[in-house]
Amino acid sequence: MVRLATEVGSLQLKNPILAASGTFGYGLDLLDFCPPEALGAVVTKGLSPKPRAGNPTPRIVETPAGMINSIGLQNIGVEAFCTDVLPTLRQRKACVVVNVFGETEEEYATVIERLQREEGIAAYELNVSCPNVHKGGMEFGHDPKLLRSLVAALRPLTQRPLWVKLSPNAPSPLAVAEAAVTAGADALTLVNTFRALSVNARTRRPSIATGFGGLSGPAIKPLALRLVWEVHRAIPQAPLVGIGGIMSGTDAVEFLLAGASAVQVGTATFRNPNACLTVLAELEAFCQQEGVEDVRELVGGLVWP
């Protein structure tokens, strides 16, 4: 028997496998393949104060071992989430992490204040790293000062854990990570997608409507893993949630070893709607084979040369 339960800071999770924001809807779209309550947590699609239409199409393109997306944070808005989705998640006893997005400090605050009125939310994940919106998001995620002020402003609004999801595109991801932690973030999620470009040679245009988009999938795994380890080494006390190209149980183990307390599965779900459960089963099998009795033994266990 492998003990799979873990914690991210003060938040207890039944296992370390989470569904990533933007790849699992609001948690209820794949009940037939992956019920949310089976996972450590589900992270919702990024929610803004009002519904957002998102970006023009085409929005996605496949690249070698990856994909670029520019969804532009299309979402139903926080109100519809509270009314139409959250009650069912609550009833299913899913552990729900809400990914929060705003164009301004006030918008982030609006979303959190609305969600504070609801039971059944385990944590907030601040999306300050979406490469596909013009305002907000990236700005906060690239500038340590802005981010510190954002986190400091939101911190008093809630006792719930505040996670900050970092951008790998920041000039200094480390500086941003430190700013977030100093300002009171409970954990850091690393990483969001990498700014990328795909070109259609025949049309001579970018493959997606907005030009740039965000790269995800196995292609970025070695880069994401590097960032997790760098941040873990620099700020060992900060709980980390690892993400980027995880497709298998071994991939998950690699992120845990690099210092993540839990991991998120994103693009893999597009390939297999039950990817989160597969990763979980493989993680358990790995632990069994390798004699790991408690999955937390793995966290940060990388032996550096």
């Binding site: 037939d32 199409t57 996605i60 071992a65 997306n69 969804i71 497709m247």
Partner: protein
């Protein structure tokens, strides 16, 4: 929604239909209760390149003892379609489906007309097969770039109770005309409904024609897809109300009237 499953299908037959198009017959162990216009997400790779599955409309399906045998018509345009062309018989492919919302064949009136352009044929052919079974009379217009790309002509002739009209862009078979122009020329007042699949410019023309004629049109759209199950929001189509709807979930078949101008 509950009918969808993810299963392995075995490739049992392939026939080349034109230089770039071929038909695949696949057998899967569990049911695949697809309706015309619905699609499946097909995965051919154990490695991360290609990474994502690809959507293909079901062209026909027959229940087997516990599962199903179904057909896909595929045009080779890139990575996965090339792999499908060379996959040895007996190979397994991942099949997730049936997905999406198909044509509403039950409310298409006494004499619908079906329009297919190029590799838009599969869902239209499936609809035709179904309408024939239901004893509904209908016409079918089918245009392609040139004669070899007009797939399965004799089969189509057999299936269509009314007129089956073929044309090509280059005139190598039938009239040299766009299929929508031909439809306009040959329009019959008894047409009660329009079902179409094909390239976007064709669908735009179909939508215009239907509006002119005051007939409802259902269009099967093809947007690039990542997940096929509504969670990535990559495949959206702009609706008349200005919102974006995932075509894998709310479509791929939309009523023309639902869609934004020029969508």
């Amino acid at each position: 929604m509950d009918a969808r499953v993810d299963q392995k299908a075995v490739l049992v037959a392939r026939s080349q239909l034109s230089p770039r198009c071929f038909a695949l017959d696949l057998v899967c162990p569990r049911p695949l209760p697809a309706q015309p216009g619905q699609f499946v997400m097909v995965g051919v790779s154990a490695t991360s390149d290609p990474l994502l599955r690809r959507p293909f409309s079901v062209a026909g399906v027959m229940p087997t003892e516990n599962g199903a045998q179904f057909q896909l018509l595929v045009k080779e345009v890139g990575k996965v379609t090339a792999m499908l062309r060379h996959l040895p018989l007996g190979s397994e492919v991942g099949v997730l489906g049936p997905l999406g919302r198909g044509f509403s064949l039950d409310s298409c009136g006494p004499h619908p007309v079906l329009v297919a352009g190029g590799i838009g044929l599969p869902p239209v052919l499936f609809a035709a097969r179904q309408l024939q079974k239901q004893g509904v009379s209908f016409d079918l217009f089918y245009g392609a770039a040139s004669e070899p790309e007009l797939l399965l002509r004799s089969e189509i002739q057999k299936v269509v109770s009314g007129d089956a009209v073929f044309c090509t862009d280059d005139g190598s078979f039938g009239e040299s005309v766009f299929v929508t122009d031909l439809l306009r020329k040959r329009w019959k007042s008894r047409y009660s409904h329009l079902l179409a699949c094909g390239p976007n410019p064709m669908l735009h023309a179909v939508a215009r024609l239907a509006r002119e004629k005051g007939v409802a049109a259902e269009l099967s759209l093809e947007e690039p897809m990542a997940c096929g199950v509504g969670v990535c929001l990559g495949c959206v189509v702009k609706l008349a109300d200005g919102t974006y709807a995932p075509s894998c979930q709310k479509g791929p078949v939309f009523r023309a009237s639902e869609l934004a101008e020029g969508w």
